[in-house]
Amino acid sequence: MDQSVRSDETGAATGSAAGRRGPAARPRVVLEGVGKEFPSSGGHGLTVLDDIDLVIEDREFLSIVGPSGCGKSTLLRLISGLMPPSRGRVLVDGAVVTGPPPDVGFMFQRDTLMPWATVAQNIGLGLELNGTPKGAHEARIAELLDLLGLAKFRDFLPAALSGGMRQRVALGRLLAYAPALYLMDEPFGALDAMTKMAMGRELLRIWSRYDKSVVFVTHDIEEAVGLSDRVVVMAAHPGRIVSEYVIDLPRPRDFRAVRLLPEFRALCETIWRDIGVE
């Protein structure tokens, strides 16, 4: 029944964030009192995350901003089940995370590509691992290469690409995997302003068209506000959530045009002021 609700809304994809979210929708991710410590040389552990409570709704676009070292990447790793929390629990789709849950895709901060595989093979990995039938790979890879502006580089090895191009390949692999929950760790960090704009638009299109949830880590407050339903601000030592902003800008949004809205400017200003930058 959940299914039918979703498919009804897939075509529309126009409502505001609030309207799009059905009241019965189950949260996609729940963090309850999550803490993470790493062993440090001093003997007692280094507290990287402290008492994190966070709920990520189904079909929500959530951004996390915060200073370097505040534990953003660690938080994504906990959600992805790649490492266990030291305290508290993490639930994805209602199940306690003990290992990588199904239907969750993770784009690392560092573009982690297979150095011996071509661009097409690296993107194809996402298709292999989500069980796309072999016959459909070729067409889907070509589609993604076009989308990412990498068609000419199909058979290149990663070492022959620029940093921004490698990041696009990693993005392509994630889009190929097409999970229900996207964990994206500074996915646009190495992109130039123009490509960033194109990728941002594409991400918004995919997110609103298919029933995706996104957790988006970034340093860039404008980027976070432009994309998200909600922005979470973290602080370091220990890593914790200090504030949260609901972004009620209209949807569908254009990643660039939205920046011209006075509400957009006001939201960004509020966040800047709250984190102590005048």
Partner: protein
């Protein structure tokens, strides 16, 4: 006097493929130039050798390229060359194959269980450093005088090379790449095939390159201690009769085989490890 010059020429001749496998000539013209340079170096070494044998040093001590050439021709025509070379190469290949399989298997286990690896490290290094020549008599007692003792001698050289390279290669695997695949719920078998295996291929090619020389040494060493066949046996036999030409003929045959096997490794590398620009 002149035999060092042969060794020098061999070293110069092969060093580009030992030290700098990525420095392959990019163009056809480049290939021809490199081939011409290599041939020139070998020719120069042979010329110096021949000249020395004809002028200053009695060929009784150092033979001469023409004498060696005639001897190799005779051996080739009579079929003796093939007979001996076959034995030496076959032992080297069998021992290397066994060393590769066991070395990779043990290396993979030790990379997986690092505490075991730490525990057995001293004994491994101890065994690795043992002078095989001292072990050779034991090998004959254990494995007899036939094929097996030679194969095991080769194995004792080669297995450590593959073991250590496999271990190092697996430790150098990018942990993020493994994590990335895990996040997409790839099975351990899938990850082994798609991450670990391609990551260690360059290490295995390096191991194979080192093993070519060691396998021939092991094979010849096995023959020196008891055999009736093989290039090692032939060299030993010739030197017993003070037949310098026979000794050099055997050594030249061994060098040619080493270079040929090394070329095979190069070809395998080109096929297995895509060039990274």
């Amino acid at each position: 006097m002149t035999s060092p010059s042969i060794e020098t020429s061999a070293a110069i001749d092969t060093s580009p493929s030992i030290t700098d496998t990525r420095g392959r000539p990019a163009t056809r013209a480049g290939w021809f130039r490199l081939a011409a340079e290599r041939i020139a170096v070998v020719a120069a070494a042979i010329a110096v050798w021949e000249l020395a044998a004809r002028t200053v040093i009695d060929p009784f001590w150092i033979s001469s390229p023409s004498l060696v050439g005639v001897r190799l021709w005779q051996l080739a025509v009579s079929g003796d060359l093939l007979w001996h070379a076959q034995a030496t190469v076959w032992q080297a290949l069998l021992g290397s194959a066994l060393g590769l399989v066991c070395g990779v298997a043990i290396g993979a286990l030790l990379a997986r269980y690092s505490r075991v690896a730490a525990a057995v490290d001293p004994i491994l290094m101890g065994l690795y450093s043992l002078p095989r020549i001292a072990l050779a008599p034991l090998f004959i007692i254990w494995f007899g005088i036939g094929l097996l003792s030679k194969v095991m001698m080769v194995f004792s050289f080669v297995v450590f090379i593959f073991l250590l390279n496999t271990m190092q290669g697996l430790r150098a695997v990018d942990p993020d790449l493994v994590d990335l695949m895990r996040s997409m719920r790839a099975t351990p078998a899938f990850i082994a095939r798609r991450v670990q295996l391609p990551s260690i291929l360059p290490w295995l090619v390096t191991a194979a390159r080192i093993s070519v020389g060691l396998a021939l040494i092991g094979s010849v060493l096995g023959e020196l201690l008891g055999a009736n066949r093989g290039l090692g046996w032939y060299v030993e036999h010739a030197s017993g009769r003070l037949d310098t030409t026979g000794v050099f003929a055997g050594l030249v045959a061994l060098m040619v085989i080493a270079v040929a096997l090394n070329t095979l490794v190069d070809l395998a590398e080109r096929w297995l490890v895509p060039a990274r620009p």
